[in-house]
Subunit: 281 residues, 2 copies
């Protein structure tokens, strides 16, 4: 397994692999890898001849009051997981290599897909995501790129960008991987105290409760959401950032649920913001 920092060196390597006829798979991450990332790498290993893992905590997708400076990092553990997953190249550029002095170009998906949900809570977040993902794509030249469905809105935004800008890249979304008790895997789970870790179960419990209500015949989003709000309010350190039932592709709110309805929620547990989502039917 090779470890590359310089973007030009990464690009030259990727172009050489492609010229040799190999199919390139990319798993873009911010590092501090967990079992969710491992599932992306395992699928990437199946779908590509040459598997690249990028590790880059992208400053442009963090707001000024967010956790860029404290975002967890553990390069040695990430490299061990990458090796075990059969990664060919780990690309770990520095912020200065990705955004050199005089950097001025931005890629943005405009409209409803980026102004609701996380886009409303985190202005500029998706502009940072689409800009860095465009750059990752141009450097690594993947035939296939894999993203987790936990970041459901991010995946929708990236699919729109890929379609709009004609990137010749297959985008694969992979199911959320959960801890044994239901908590969705996230690098940010490390922020939680033991008591908060227990309270954080309310996200997956809310999703399970919504599915129970749906299975019992409830179709009114407002009724389901009111019940979930009560459930979440019972946790002393939980504060809802958003809680919506949306259409899976437009992300517009749905008054009644159907097979396209996704529950999307973001909840602060203390100072840690966690997200989760899932289909209801």
């Amino acid at each position: 397994m090779d470890i590359i920092s310089d973007p030009q060196q990464m690009q030259q390597r990727a172009l050489a692999e492609k010229r040799a006829g190999r199919r390139v798979a990319l798993v873009p991450t911010m590092g501090y890898l967990h079992a969710g990332h491992r599932s992306l790498l395992q699928e990437g290993r199946k779908r590509g001849d040459f598997l690249v893992l990028s590790l880059f905590v992208n400053p442009t997708q963090f707001g000024p009051s967010e956790d860029l400076s404290t975002y967890p990092r553990d390069l040695e553990a990430d490299l061990a997981l990458a090796r075990a997953a059969g990664v060919d190249v780990v690309w770990t550029p520095t912020p200065q290599e990705v955004y050199p002095a005089g950097y001025a170009t931005w890629v943005a998906v405009e409209g409803g897909l980026t102004t609701t949900l996380c886009g409303a809570s985190r202005p500029g977040h998706f502009r940072g995501v689409t800009t860095v993902v465009s750059k990752l794509f141009n450097v690594v030249q993947p035939d296939v790129a894999l993203f987790g469905e936990k970041d459901f809105q991010q995946l929708a935004v990236i699919r729109q960008m890929v379609r709009d800008l004609n990137f010749p890249i297959e985008i694969v979304g992979m199911p959320i991987v959960r801890e044994a008790d239901g908590l969705a895997m996230s690098s940010r789970n490390v922020y939680l105290t033991p008591d908060q870790r227990r309270q954080a179960l309310v996200l997956s419990q809310a999703l399970a409760l919504a599915r129970e209500l749906a299975a019992a015949g409830e179709r009114e989003s407002a009724t389901i959401l009111a019940t979930l709000r009560q459930l979440i309010a019972a946790q002393p350190d939980a504060r809802i950032d958003y809680l919506h039932i949306c259409h899976q592709t437009t992300l517009q709110e749905q008054a009644r649920i159907d097979a396209a309805a996704v529950l999307l929620l973001a909840v602060f547990i203390g100072k840690t913001r966690l997200i989760d989502n899932g289909f209801l039917l």
Copy 2:
């Protein structure tokens, strides 16, 4: 020579050529080709094994009061010129193919490079240019792309975008091609009446005069520009849009001229806006 409309078909063809080891050259144009475009194609023919000419009058780079609806078109003449220049594929997508319903993604270079000169006169123009050029690049996957230096600012903006977004593409700028009497070749020259055509010579005459003054030792931009303003004002149908001496890469105005100083001018001749530029030393 093949003629393709569908972007996916164009992309599949380009990817196949690349897999076969061929070097792809792209000349992006809005059609109504002239000798300036021919020089791009001739250079592209030398630099690539597979030469693509795109013909697309890009609506997103025109302002609401500009000449999108009247922009000149002559597909048959363009195809004849392309054939003579040895083009392999002419790509002529429709506006609906380039910007399908629900289109939402924009690529923009921010800051001084796009807010001065044509960026000040034509708000949103460069956002339309960088967006469509990103799409052309992703569809045609060129190793090299050729642009005319007449659009000096456009070339600087595209170079910045390519560097910032890590496109693995060599950008080649080709010298302005002029009519025998000095008028820079432009598809928009067709708008000029015979009398306006004569008055339009004032752009290249201004450039020549600026070079004479520089050759005679004048270094003060303000002095040179004042003289040029007088020259241009003598033409009854000429109205200066802008007239600046700028640094070749930053496009910031220079008070004194040196080897990096470029005269950039945009002048309305009647309703037709023409541009020209050149180094002074």
